[in-house]
Structures are given as C-alpha cells and as structure tokens.
Symmetry: C2
Subunit: 327 residues, 2 copies
C-alpha cells in the first residue's frame, strides 16, 4: 500500500523533528524517557489513521500531522503509566521506562507527556482546537476508565461479555476512532462524516482486540511471536474466557475454575484443558462471529462517509488486511 | 474581606455541584479518590485568585467558575501524584490517596483528573478556550518540570540560589499566576492586563514560598502548626540552606555539611547548629529581603493593571495579609 507508506514516512519525519527538540530539553529526567519510549517504534497505527482520515477528503494530510503527533504522544504516555500499573519489566524487547529509570520518573514523565499531547493541539486555530480537544479529552477519560476496568477485572470472578466489551472499547478502541475523527476535523469534514469515521475506528478497534484474544489462544505458528495460550496461563480476562463462563453449565464452570486455579507450573495442562472446554462451548467460532460483526459494523460506517471513493476502498482493504492475520 | 468570602462561597457551591456528579460515576475506583481529595479542603487560593481576577474588571465572576474549577482540579491532581512521588502517608491529617487506596489507583485517578481539568475548559467558547489552554498547558508542563527539579535537588549537593528560585517558580508560583490570568481571560481583559496579573501571581507565589521556608525555620509559636526546623531535619533544600551554602566560607561549609550528615536522632543539635550558621551568615534577613523584593515586583505588576482601582487596592491588601503570617 504505497500511499500509506508515504503517509507513514510523513509522520516519521514529523516525529523525528519533535524528538530532536526533546533531546535539548531540561530537566533531562523528564524528557529522556519521553524520547526513549518514542524511539521504541511500534506500528504508528493511530497517527497513520489520523493522516489517512484527512487524506480521505483530498485535503493535504500535512494538516493532520500535529493531531497525529498528539494521539501518538497520548498513546505513549498511557504505555508508560500502564507499564507501571501492570508491573511490566519489558516493552518491545526493551526495558520499560520505570525499569530503566524508576517509578517516580515514569509517573512524572508520563504526566508531562500527557500535557504535551494536548499542548500540541494548540497549534491549530481556535475552532479546530475546540473540536479536536472535545474528542481527544472525552477519549482520554474513557481510556483511563478502560484501564481501571481492566485492573478491576483481574480481581473479579464474574465479568460479563458486555462488561468486557465495554472495557476493550474504552481501553483500546476509542483512541483509534479518535485518531480518525481528528484527521477528519483537520480536513474540515462534516460532523456526520467525522462521527462515521469515529465509529469505523471504534468498531475496528473492538474487532482488533477480539482478534488478538483469538490469536493468543489459536495462533498455530510462530508468526504472532507470543507464547500460545499466554493469556490463559496468566488468567487474563479475554473474550474467550468471559464468553466460556457465560455459556458453561455447572460442571463445565467447575472445570474452568479448576484450570484457573492451576499454577503456571502445570502450564500445559492449564492451557490444553481450557482450550478443550472452549471447543466444547464453540468459543472460537463465537469469538470469530463477534469480531466479524464488528468489522461489518465498522465497514458500514466507513461506506457512509462522503469522501474520495477510491481512498475509502483502500482504507477498507487496510482494515481487512489488518484483521486477517493467520489464526 | 467580605467580598472575597462571597467569591469563595460561589466557588464552594460550584465545586460541591461538581463533586455530587462524581459520586455517581463509574468505575468508582477512579472517581472516589478524586472526590476524596477534593473533600480534604484547603484554602482554595487558586480558584479564589481566578474569580478575583475576573471580578477585578467588573465582570460577573461566575464567568470564571469553570476556570477556577479547572485549576483546582489540576492542583489536586498534582497533590495525588506528588504524594506518591514523595512517599507521603498523610495530607491535611488524612491518609493520602495512594495510602487509602493504592499506588495504581493514585496514578490512574490522578491521570483522569488531569484530563478532566482541561476538559472542563471546553465549556468556554473557542476563542476563550484557546487562550485558557495556552496558559494552562504551558503552566502544567512547568509544574511537572518544577517537581522533577525538586526531586533532583534531593540528591544534588550543589544547588544554586538561581536554580532554587527557578524550581519554586515552576513548582508553585506559575500556577498562581495562571489562575489569575485565566480569570482575566474570562473577563475579556487585554492580553497586557492578563500578563501583568500573571506576573503579579507568579512573584507573589515566589514570595509565599520564601515565606514558607522562613516560617519553617523561625516560626516562634504554634500558629504555623508544623514542627520548627522540620525542613532542616529532613535535609530539605530551601532558600535558607541554599543561600547559606552559597555564602559560606570553607569552614562554615564544612560545618553545614556535618549538620546535614547528622541523623534525625541528633535532631536538636542538627537544627540549632544549622540555625546558628544561618545567623552568622545573616540568612534570615537575606531571605526576608528576597521575599520583599518579589512582593514589591508583584505589586508593581498589579498596579499596572487597568481595572477597578478599589478592587485592585483590595487585592493588594490580600497579598500583604497572606504574606505577613508571624515569623
């Protein structure tokens, strides 16, 4: 997808320019971690979606560069704080910020990064700024709420499918929707078009997360790079386990619970036993259906956007490509 | 100061309305801490300054209520995070948020509170929002920088007076300036008047902090409520100790260092020895002169503001009153 490569390069240049300014800033304990986490790479999916959305309306995607930078800074701020919350030592094969420095520096450099994510939007004129902030701040608050829900779920025995979907919507999906909507705002798109793009991104995000849940349990090869069944091993709440508990009869529920209580010492038994129950309950198909239904919903919103048809088609293809990693 | 009481009541009502909405919000782990820290009281100096600034131009102070709420939320967010950074168990005789709940909840409820501080400003029209955010975000970033400098100073042996003043300017003073400037913006004051009010608040804030440093060492009675010499005991960097190191000759420096190295077991000796050296070096007078010079600078900016003369006089009196707590 050649056009998208150009957009990604455009963003990379913009990000590098921003990063080069960071290296001179004091106190360095605050800005080195920001520079570091931005150097760890990642797909830059959010800024890409932001530029794509602006380009969709045949407006210069450069208009959306600061919005794209804003969402990428916000996303990376959440990574720094989430890694502290999750006690995660590594990210993308490198030490997390609080491991490389310390928790205090992780908290404070995250805080300043969040403020800078909004500050960058002040480069836009007053009218655009108001629209951009409106969606950006509502999204920020939901992302925090989603993260708290996720932490609550760790301790909760009875999470419903609806609660789980609400959590992934807030924690992951709305920021994809927000990225697209901001790009649309930069293109002076109508409120309606911007909202359809938000919904497209949101449902796509939900489908992505459901896909991730499936990949963790069913990835048959090395492509995905993670241990198969890692979520099961870690007793992580996923669509699969939540749905399984919802559908299980008394004896199946008892079995699921007994696998949950197995320590990782009995890892293989824990994983294979849980997968066996998923099979009995037809969970893989149900998860796939759920993901498909959100993909469909996403595409239906995309098709309602009044923009360059060719580019809309291309975006639909991107969405499908991202969703068809081998399971 | 009757008029100020009315403004404080106006803000209290606004804050209570906001807090009552909080109690229904989910997930409660995120909003109970916010409600709790807002319930701990405090002087509400920042929101008061915000309303005063608006009122100064004979505009309805209600215009500034959301700005006042925004700065108070931001200030309380910094308290939650700073208490984690400082490992502080208590605030205003109550457990701190991370003590009452846990560090993760402290981090995340602080994050959402920061986002809400900005989100509230979105209630203003686009032009005001842009001006409000401009000062609010620049200030937020400086407050984080000031906190990081303060943390760095704990480990640093050689802090200069100029670095110390930069730190208190960022950590404490700019938010007072920001509060006043936001109120002025809400009153549609000129950029020049708003900037003079910012400078008034900033220099007042520096004078406040220098005063606090002096009160800690020289408060002769119980009025101030803290242990006399607490900062000396805790090896905290204050104007007094930083200035003393700057002026001390080799032998005085050696003595100061030996007191710094005394444990709190030898608390009385540590405090009286340090105070003795402060006396030799005339530190109390130098600190008072420094504070006076910032108060003078503050008042000179206030006098340049084109607003209701009577109200400006009243604000000057408030500043003087706040600065003449018994030493």
């Amino acid at each position: 997808m050649k056009n998208y490569e150009a957009l990604l390069n455009l963003f990379s240049e913009h990000l590098e320019k921003y990063r080069s300014q960071l290296s001179a800033k004091q106190p360095k304990e605050l800005y080195e971690p920001e520079n570091y986490i931005l150097s760890l790479g990642g797909k830059r999916l959010r800024p890409l979606l932001c530029l794509i959305a602006c380009d969709l309306f045949d407006k210069d995607p450069k208009r959306a560069l600061d919005s794209a930078l804003s969402v990428e800074l916000f996303h990376n701020f959440t990574l720094i704080h989430d890694d502290i919350l999750d006690n995660a030592p590594m990210r993308r094969n490198q030490p997390t910020v609080h491991t490389k420095w310390n928790i205090n520096i992780g908290i404070l450099s995250g805080d300043v990064m969040m403020a800078k994510a909004y500050d960058i939007l002040n480069r836009y004129n007053a009218t655009q700024l108001k629209s951009l902030l409106n969606i950006m701040l509502a999204t920020s608050i939901e992302v925090c709420e989603g993260q708290q829900m996720d932490m609550n779920f760790e301790k909760s025995k009875s999470v419903t499918v609806s609660e789980y979907k609400q959590m992934i919507t807030f924690k992951t999906a709305v920021l994809l929707g927000c990225s697209l909507k901001m790009g649309a705002i930069n293109a002076d798109a109508s409120e309606e078009d911007a909202e359809h793009l938000f919904e497209f991104g949101k449902h796509l995000g939900i489908a992505f997360q459901l896909n991730d849940d499936m990949l963790d349990a069913y990835s048959a090869n090395e492509k995905f790079g993670k241990q198969v069944g890692g979520d099961i091993l870690a007793n992580k709440k996923t669509f699969l386990i939540v749905k399984a508990f919802e559908l299980a009869n008394a004896s199946q529920k008892q079995k699921l619970e007994s696998y949950l209580n197995l320590t990782s010492m009995k890892g293989l038994e824990k994983i294979s036993g849980t997968l066996e129950l998923f099979k009995e309950l037809n969970i893989k198909t149900l998860a796939q259906n759920e993901a498909d239904s959100h993909t469909k919903e996403a595409i239906s919103h995309l098709k309602l956007v009044n923009a360059n048809h060719h580019k809309i088609k291309q975006l639909e293809e991107l969405a499908t490509t991202l969703l068809t990693r081998d399971i």
